[in-house]
């Protein structure tokens, strides 16, 4: 048997290099040579890991999709001290909005892929799956909040989840565009959630 290489690990390394470069100068501007240099491997190694550039980009998208989903899921699952459903909702959405400075790269990459989705069905498929998963997550949180009586019963969890998700993504874009500071975006998001919670105690 030949020399052993942890391919999964290398693929992940390369994927992160790809993300770094995408954030720096756009999705089509990443070249195999630059990726190799950024990842600290040779060009040949990159070509061995991914048969084509498209494959590489697709893997990078799946990589960060998984990353984002996992962060949100862990935020929910690993909550040792049981939190109020409402704060859980706030924190999860804040995380999904990728507002903190460290997530900026991920936000840029995510948006780059969304932009190219209409031009590539494979990209679009990954994005649809991820969005569906995230929507399910948020809707579940809302239902949980309704169980604990923190969220008004008359709200439709699915509809509200759609609104929340779109709002979060829109704020992400606005922060990238420089229209909002991250803190401002967070405040807007929080205000909308507060609105949902306190609203219509008269109808309940």
């Amino acid at each position: 048997m030949p020399r052993q290489v942890d391919y999964e690990d290398r693929r992940r390394r390369i994927a992160e290099a790809v993300c770094t470069l995408i954030a720096r100068s756009g999705m089509e501007a990443v070249s195999l040579r630059d990726v190799a240099a950024q990842a600290g491997v040779s060009m040949g190694a990159v070509q061995r890991c991914f048969r084509t550039k498209q494959d590489m980009l697709l893997f990078a998208l799946e990589h960060i999709s998984q990353h984002v989903s996992e962060r949100a899921e862990q935020r929910i699952a690993a909550t040792s001290t049981p939190q109020a459903a409402s704060t859980l909702l706030s924190h999860t959405l804040a995380e999904l909005a990728l507002l903190d400075e460290e997530s900026k790269t991920q936000a840029q990459v995510w948006l780059a892929f969304v932009t190219h989705a209409p031009a590539s069905e494979k990209l679009a498929a990954v994005l649809r799956d991820t969005y569906a998963k995230l929507h399910g997550l948020i809707a579940w949180l809302i239902r949980y909040g309704q169980d604990t009586r923190e969220v008004p019963q008359h709200l439709d969890p699915d509809r509200e989840a759609h609104t929340l998700l779109a709002l979060a993504d829109g704020l992400t874009a606005h922060v990238l565009a420089g229209h909002h500071a991250p803190a401002t975006a967070l405040a807007i998001l929080q205000r909308h959630i507060d609105h949902l919670l306190e609203e219509a105690s008269d109808r309940d």
Copy 2:
């Protein structure tokens, strides 16, 4: 004097060619040759109009920014039969969300520029200006609605405008990503607006 050429018109033609190509395959993937072919002029003509590729892209962004802003403003100004403030608000936002099929290209281009804004201060500046203008427009509409008593007085127009704008942009992204059909996105947007309007008649 030499042969007369309408440069403004040509620049606009080229800008639209650029947008078409950006929508087709991304922002860095547009080449001067392709732009020239798409616009039906020679490469030399393109180079005479724009000193550099960056200039060309920047002009294209300004072009569609103006296009989007103008559409929204006209929707408001040219309303011959005075409409209810609420429907005006709905229609304007629906237009800003670029949801109809013909606006898909513009949505893609817009998102492409947002994605690259962090990498180019000049792009970011144009985006900031446009967003500021749109925000002002929406806030104005809300205040107008408050004057006509259609919109609850206790709402902060600026805050609600921020939320609405972010929601619209988020829905645009979701449609591009294939997560929503345009009609669905429109419904979500409309529902949020309805919510704003009917809400809290008890507090007024």
